[in-house]
């Protein structure tokens, strides 16, 4: 059971990181972004592009310390983040901005984001094909703590640390800086923010940029944890949706709690159910919580 708890925390950290960007956009623009998962896939594959490039050039092929990935993967974080940020901002400019201008409802945006998701996934399928990919092949070292009988992969320490670090940085940015305050003001009341002299369109570029950053990091980490395939983000999106709804609209702390709850619940459920039921467990928890508390754990009282 303790082992499942540890796995749950690892999974919960990845879900938490992935859902922070999703809840941020949901809080600020009222858009439930169905393409979030496929943007994560795009982030993971952008890193793969550079890892493959480094391997062809014969540089950065050494494995980092006790982990399973090469230096190339670490360096590839940077271009992957850049691509993901630019992609997120471009999608907003091309798809959601015209909808905002036309005064469309958030539901319209939600349906449009399904189109974005399809287009992204189709592009990834066309470029890389349907096969599995790995950043690095070879052994994935594990640690065994004999005295308490727990076995986990060394990479997972890295994944958990980077996840929480990224979330902490974004959280500090939103709570301490002037830009962060403006973003939160926009999330709270867009009209009031606008009359207070906040340039909403510019703020939205920032919001999508931050989301793109988190998306890329979670994509690469998820790629290290499992493997890359074009469906990875879409499948990953389901627990993210559940975590974000569980946490409440726009609540970063809520999304993190939601992610941990779901991660632990999903792993614990494997003790007495088939592991393939994990996504269903996430949804049933989400629906039950919503019935008791429709605005989520830390959701706002009004919308």
């Amino acid at each position: 059971m303790l082992e499942l708890l540890i796995y749950g925390i690892v999974l919960g950290s990845i879900i938490g990181l992935g859902s922070v960007g999703l809840t941020l956009i949901w809080g600020i623009t009222d858009l439930f972004n169905c393409a979030h998962g496929d943007q994560i896939t795009a982030g993971a594959y952008s890193a793969l592009l550079f890892v493959t490039l480094f391997n062809k050039m014969g540089i950065l092929k050494g494995i980092v310390g006790p982990f399973s990935f090469s230096w190339g993967v670490l360096v590839a974080f940077i271009p992957a983040i850049l691509i993901s940020v630019i992609l997120a901002i471009l999608i907003d400019r091309w798809v959601y901005k015209p909808l905002r201008k036309a005064g469309a409802t958030s539901i319209t945006g939600f349906i449009a984001s399904i189109g974005v998701a399809w287009a992204l996934r189709g592009t990834i399928y066309i470029i890389w094909g349907a096969d599995f990919h790995f950043y690095n092949t070879g052994l994935r070292p594990t640690i065994i703590l004999h005295n308490i009988g727990i076995k986990f992969r060394v990479d997972e320490i890295f994944i958990v640390i980077i996840s929480w670090l990224s979330v902490a940085v974004v959280y500090l940015f939103l709570s301490k800086t002037k830009m962060g305050k403006a973003l939160r003001a926009l999330a709270d009341n867009p009209t009031l923010a606008q009359v207070s002299g906040i340039n909403t369109e510019r703020m939205l570029i920032w919001a999508w940029g931050i989301a793109g950053l988190l998306i890329a990091i979670s994509g690469v980490l998820y790629g290290i944890e499992t493997q890359l395939r074009p469906e990875m983000g879409w499948i990953f999106l389901m627990p993210l949706f559940a975590a974000v709804i569980l946490g409440g609209q726009g609540s970063i702390t809520g999304a993190l709690i939601g992610g941990l709850v779901l991660g632990i619940a999903q792993q614990m459920s494997t003790a007495f159910m088939a592991p393939s039921y994990k996504p269903a467990v996430a949804f049933i928890i989400m629906i039950l919580v919503l019935i008791v508390r429709p605005r989520g754990i830390l959701g706002r009282r009004y919308s």
Binding site: P98, T108, F110, G122, I126, S276, A280
Partner: protein, 318 residues
């Protein structure tokens, strides 16, 4: 002849999708219910009809195929059972989710549909798990030789589409339909007028789900083989949303037109793309359709939010 056969089987699928679109139009077009779990009702309808019409496996086959029951009933009984089963599931779904806000309903139904698929995939005792069921009976299959069976089936599905179309049009022009549209436009106002909003939403959800269940059954008997992989969100849900959005939300004729156009793009592009691209690219070429449909959906929503036909003006006859 090959091209004509290709067109007939295309028409059968387009007609089946038209039935799904009508079901979605009742829920989303007229009532404003965001059902993103069409694939779930699709699966329930298909499996129910399969289990009602197939016989229990015998002989050597029984070693490889497990199913909960096989009643060997006629095709029509299977379709009716599919509608009822799908309706019952929708009552459960509605009881859990209808009180939630519209966005939550979308995510909850998406999750439930995914859970239904996982359920059929895992529970091998019910309908043979991931391998699915093969050899569903096809109505009137003795009438013509097998390669012309699509012609017969096209007539069958067209009759179903016509009956459902007339029923939905009648319903939507009745006082009942007027309440649904009132709820879509302003829920609080409808409530203030003394309408039980949740109850009417439930009725709309159930009617739509029953239509989807019929669509699922018709699909199952046409393909004669079903497995959980068919009921993924892409084919089971989102393509139907694209069809309705393209044709015109709140317009049954538009929805049917949208179904035929989107299915034409989907099935004919495979055919055309395969001719144009080099052989080395052939395995990846089908995915061009994903991009095509995705971009189409974005362009409709951003540029032509009303779709091709737009919402039809409804004049109640009562």
């Amino acid at each position: 002849m090959g091209l004509l056969n290709f067109f007939i089987s295309f028409a059968v699928m387009a007609t089946i999708y038209s039935i799904f679109v009508l079901g979605l139009n009742v829920q989303w077009g007229y009532t404003g219910l965001l059902n993103f779990g069409i694939a779930g009702f699709f699966a329930v309808g298909a499996y129910t009809s399969a289990l009602f019409t197939m016989h229990m496996p015998t002989g050597a086959l029984a070693n490889y195929v497990t199913q909960a029951f096989g009643l060997g009933m006629p095709f029509l009984v299977g379709v009716i059972a599919a509608a009822i089963a799908s309706g019952l599931v929708s009552i459960l779904v509605g009881a859990l989710t209808l009180r939630l806000g519209e966005g939550y309903l979308a995510i909850a139904t998406l999750g439930i549909a995914e859970s239904i698929r996982i359920f059929f995939n895992n529970e091998s005792w019910l309908a043979n798990g991931p391998q699915g069921l093969v050899g569903l009976p096809q109505p009137l299959h003795n009438l013509v030789s097998p390669q012309y069976y699509s012609y017969v089936y096209l007539v069958i599905v067209l009759i179903f589409l016509a009956v459902i179309y007339i029923a939905v049009e009648k319903g939507i022009r009745s006082p009942w339909g007027r309440v649904l549209r009132a709820i879509r436009e302003d829920e609080i106002m409808a409530n203030a007028d003394g309408k039980n909003v949740v109850f009417f939403k439930m009725q709309s959800l159930v009617v739509g789900a029953m239509i989807m269940g019929i669509g699922g059954a018709l699909y199952a008997h046409y393909s004669a083989a079903i497995q959980p992989g068919v009921f993924e969100a892409l084919f089971g849900t989102f393509i139907i949303w694209t069809m309705l959005t393209l044709g015109g939300t709140g317009n049954n004729k538009g929805g049917i037109l949208g179904a035929w156009i989107v299915w034409a793009i989907w099935s004919w592009s495979t055919y055309l793309i395969a001719k144009v691209v080099p052989a080395s690219f052939a395995t990846r070429a089908p995915f061009i359709r994903y991009v095509l449909i995705g971009v189409l959906l974005i362009v409709i929503i951003v540029r032509f939010p009303k779709g091709i036909m737009g919402e039809e003006r409804q004049v109640s006859k009562f």
